[in-house]
Symmetry: none
Subunit: 207 residues, 4 copies
């Protein structure tokens, strides 16, 4: 019988990643043993080492993988251009929707930075910074245009990301609100947080 493309091995590796995301999210990186992970996958512990040289490498790999897919997804997202408020809303909506759908991976990414050895850490930190760069750019352009009030760009960007990511701490699939509703609510909060406080001039000035 013909083998599936990518063969057994590829399927096993995918199963390891999935199981690791689930277990690391629930019990923490240090709280999951290779034996437990192997059991979830349905192999012996030794077999995991065919796919990842160490437990730490598995974690770093998962985290980098997640961030790269996040960046790709943002690239692929249809986005408004040259309209910072619309862009910010789009970013917030995208961020919440993407994160709510991938709670486990996100949780691991945000919680287990401290479990990384220094060289893995800087690789991951660079990817995260790359993902947050467009947000800083949107805020900067909106501020220059007088649409946003951003007294401190880096702090504001980090505060918004913290708020938008916080949703993964409590949102559950099948909860009261679906991903779209959560995305809209958070987009409104993010937009409000930085909106320039006095659009009153609009009453009097032609501008």
């Amino acid at each position: 019988m013909a083998r599936t493309i990518g063969s057994e091995g590829a399927r096993t590796e995918a199963a390891i990643r999935e199981a690791a995301a689930r277990l690391f999210a629930r019990h923490g990186f240090e709280g999951v043993s290779m034996r437990r992970l192997a059991e979830e996958v349905g192999v012996q512990a030794g077999a995991l080492y065919r796919y990842f040289p160490t437990k730490q490498a598995l974690l770093a790999d998962m985290m980098a993988d997640h961030l790269r897919r996040l960046l790709d997804a943002w690239e692929a997202e249809p986005k408004p251009r040259a309209d910072p408020p619309a862009e910010l809303a789009a970013f917030a909506r995208f961020h919440v929707r993407y994160h709510v759908d991938r709670r486990d991976e996100v949780f691991v990414n945000y919680m287990e930075l401290r479990s990384l050895a220094p060289d893995h850490f800087s690789q991951i930190a660079a990817l995260r910074d790359a993902y947050e760069a467009p947000l800083r750019d949107i805020l900067a352009r909106g501020a220059r245009a007088g649409q946003f009030h951003v007294p401190d760009l880096p702090v504001t960007a980090m505060a918004l990301v913290a708020m938008l990511t916080g949703v993964t701490r409590w949102a559950r699939p099948g909860g009261r609100l679906d991903a779209d509703a959560l995305a809209d609510l958070h987009a409104a909060l993010a937009l409000g947080a930085v909106r320039a406080p006095h659009p009153e001039p609009s009453c009097f000035t032609p501008a």
Copy 2:
């Protein structure tokens, strides 16, 4: 003859709490061994068990202690009354200042909930809920008064807490901004996030 009040024992217990907060925050609860903790305190591992019956009990004790002191501090805080926007700003400023000054304890409290056994967990969850209750109350009153736009109260409260707490992830003592500056910046963001969007009527109505 009576022992000196506050003798060795009390000092050792305090040292354990301090060292535990520091180490748990940096390496995670599961990432710190009792041996490592004892070394930091300057005793042998066995001595820790004179003060806390298990490692888990030490964690739960620290978390409950932190939350009780947080609740007490908020009680003691001079607060504006009957002015939701001012109250929200006060809450945000208090929260950021308190949290930035106690980064380790906060971090442990927000990260290690999953390390708690169920009964410890519910005790801690109740304390956290008690702390967030005044925020929900402020938002509710502000919304009723038309000062805030709060389409979903619980989600908004959690989003604001996530934003205000996020600062502990990156703020360092001696960083570019001091606690007061960070408090002001976050208070403005929080207020903006829920501020009712159209004060425009002021242009047209006499009100």
Copy 3:
């Protein structure tokens, strides 16, 4: 490719059982550490846990195993029928011979009942009761036939077992008397202990 049947694993497990019987008998269950046991077997302590999930389970397993083999051996023993004195002598001889040859296992079985958790305990107690049942049966039939004087059946059965088992406390292979001699001596004592006291009628009656 299939592993050799009875490979390393099976040999290691057998070695653990043997070493455990020897060490538990000499130093008591609580007096033997898993490290010490592993050393005797020639492996690291952790390796023991591939074969027995806990130290307690190892003990219970050994005890149940011993009792099952004892029951099987008694089943397989050629026995006189319908002649209680001969049956009692056969039981006594069997018991002493079997026990003298397996001093360590017997000693552990009789001494370490208290080290068992309740569920393990009742399993072992049931097996012991099953082994002593035939003895009670022999005594009962002999008493009914007037061949034995048994004023209290359970007490007598326990007293006999205590006497017959006591030999394991001091008998050593290569001692003054071999297993058969010990068996005969104890059989005579047991028989005497319950023999109906007055065969005197033989003097006067023709019977």
Copy 4:
């Protein structure tokens, strides 16, 4: 206020001995910690070391003490003289009654020999031997007089002691039979075990 004769200290020491007998009997010497013992007595663990230099010394002390009191009690016991069967019955009755009333101490004495260091061990072994000497003497005289059938003196003595002591393994105060009933039953068994099998000569010889 006048101190009780023997003062606090003597009472504490007695309490330690009592608690130790109870706990060692139930959980084994190695199964009882000095802390647990101290708790039972109502003092801190350190206080035990005022009375016994080590845990091992406490055990040896208890065991020697028990055997000395046992020897003294046998000395003080009113005994038949020059009538081996009556003497054996008296010994058996005494042994069972004394042992049933002091189950904990007896149990510890018989079980924990192996927990003794060599020098303590030989001291205890000598005392036990001294206690069993009269039994061997009775058997020897009875055999010489043709009243007993004793093909092997040391084995018979040990077998009888094993039988008579076995009662402590299951007898409970308040059980179906009281100490006297148990003593009588065991005396009859012991006597029967060694009684010369054929008193028939009495039929024919004037003797």
